[in-house]
Symmetry: none
Subunit: 187 residues, 4 copies
């Protein structure tokens, strides 16, 4: 009807879902809570998402897609150092610019299960680790520490920090965990 579309009433559901997932985690958020928050009934929710899994997918899929895109850019680099650096900074960028979603994705049991099943989340993670990791199990371990650390530190305390500053510190910490040297900037 209207040319610009009314924000798609479906998007309103997603927005409040993100808010509630962030506050109470996925497992702690019932469809009833989402409906109540919007002042509608559960039926309205079910009209847009036929199951709970569809909800969490709708909320997190954009993020996963952006992760995959960033991942493919990194994989296209020529040297191993450049690939790791691109991977790391791309990851930090996504984390910083999607802070509310990060704890939902990272710290919720059951979310991983749903997402890995039909959306290839674990494939993405495997390739991320592969790019970041040096050789051997020690490399994968440090890559894991870096990613878990960067994602795990996100929370209420980081939500109000300046994005650029936050990005800088996370990059530095990640490089440190990985044992990488900071790259020379365009000189």
């Amino acid at each position: 009807m209207s040319p610009v579309a009314v924000t798609g009433s479906r998007q309103r559901f997603i927005d409040v879902a993100v808010r509630l997932f962030t506050r109470h985690s996925f497992a702690g958020t019932s469809l009833q809570m989402i409906a109540d928050e919007l002042g509608v009934t559960k039926s309205a929710v079910y009209h847009h998402f036929r199951t709970r899994e569809e909800m969490i997918a709708a909320v997190l899929e954009p993020l996963i897609d952006r992760m995959r895109a960033s991942l493919e850019i990194a994989e296209a680099q020529r040297t191993r150092a450049a690939r790791a650096e691109a991977m790391l900074s791309g990851f930090v960028d996504l984390v910083v610019s999607n802070q509310p979603l990060i704890p939902v994705l990272a710290s919720d049991p059951g979310v991983r299960e749903v997402l890995t099943a039909h959306h290839g989340l674990d494939d993405v993670i495997r390739r991320q680790v592969a790019l970041l990791a040096g050789p051997g199990p020690a490399g994968r371990l440090k890559a894991g520490v870096a990613m878990a650390g960067i994602a795990g530190v996100i929370g209420p305390a980081t939500m109000h920090m300046d994005h650029d500053e936050l990005r800088g510190h996370l990059l530095a910490a990640g490089r440190g965990a990985l044992g990488l040297r900071p790259p020379r900037r365009r000189c």
Copy 2:
């Protein structure tokens, strides 16, 4: 009867609780599952722990106590570098030697809530961050990355690694994230 003492039947409940919490997380483990695993009824569980909170407390309190002890040792060091180093290596030690409990403590929403309420978990964490952190918000951020990274990387993949090796790599990654130099060993 049995010469070695019956281990207190209560301990049997804690043991299977740890196993199930590790496998399915706290929120994903019902009292019924614990009862079934032991071949008893929920009532038997209720006899030992009258609420779910009591269960998780009984499971994690020993770990928190050890954390506090390790923390106090670190706080007693004289130089700031020594305090940070003692804190980090004590933390890594505890993580490595209590791997099954770490994901339960770290990755489960609601567990934190219960533990911070009546057991001073957040006080412990605050003091840990204070010891690890350099000045300013950047310092606390890096301390958070280090701790979240070390705790967050624990999982099925690390469970079968050699403890000493694992400890070494985690220490290295933690020092890197914090920007610390490895200390000179008694020479």
Copy 3:
């Protein structure tokens, strides 16, 4: 469909709740009993009343509202004797015409607690006693005896008596307990 309107299916729940509360008291009536009586499941009950407190409130609130209305009429009288007389006869009217609800309201521990919390029941009672009572603790005591007596005598034995007759006897007993003279009827 049906011309008379479907009575709102919610009202059907209230009706059987009243029946069962009258028969087994509030505390002695489980949601399961209500559901069984209607041939539905507990979920259906939950759909209309999310807690037991909501049920008892839905059942008794109309009565409390009528009590408040009758109370305010009595408070508007000019002489103290007229206020007491209006209060007493209004109370008796309500008791007689709501006999099934009276034991539920009066004789059930826990009901009072729920109703006083969010529905001002104790405020109503206090004002009722104030209207009935002469000065001093002795006055409040007699008012308490009168009200407790009138409400407490309701039961299976009174349920089948003629309403006008019942009303007359209760009024007489109440006046006696209070030490009031019967008012002269406009002659």
Copy 4:
């Protein structure tokens, strides 16, 4: 052993039972609560009372026995007025001197059921009403109002009043409800 008996440890159970029944009613008091209050386990309770019914009986039987005794004294009077007067004043005496037990006996659904079954409570009540009541249903009704009123007004507010004063007011209110004249005192 000791000749005077150590208050009979059984009596300690009864004492706390009375306290808890008064505070939470019979139905709202679990064996566990009684055991906890005494710092023992439920087994200790079960050692003295094989079932919950035995507890409430042990608590209230003395009162019922005293009621029966007072009742038989009243029944032995020669005139109907003397019988009613003796009944009423005996009832008031018992109510005043056993205030904590009155709400337990009067206002708890299920208590009556237990007590009438094996202890003849309803027989006592029937005879009490017969003594107090004038002829016809109206008489029984007023007797019911008087007894329910006297018993029902007992509560926290009356607990701290002077016993003699309380007795006097209750007697007056009871006589009023019954339409009795105060008896001439031995002059």
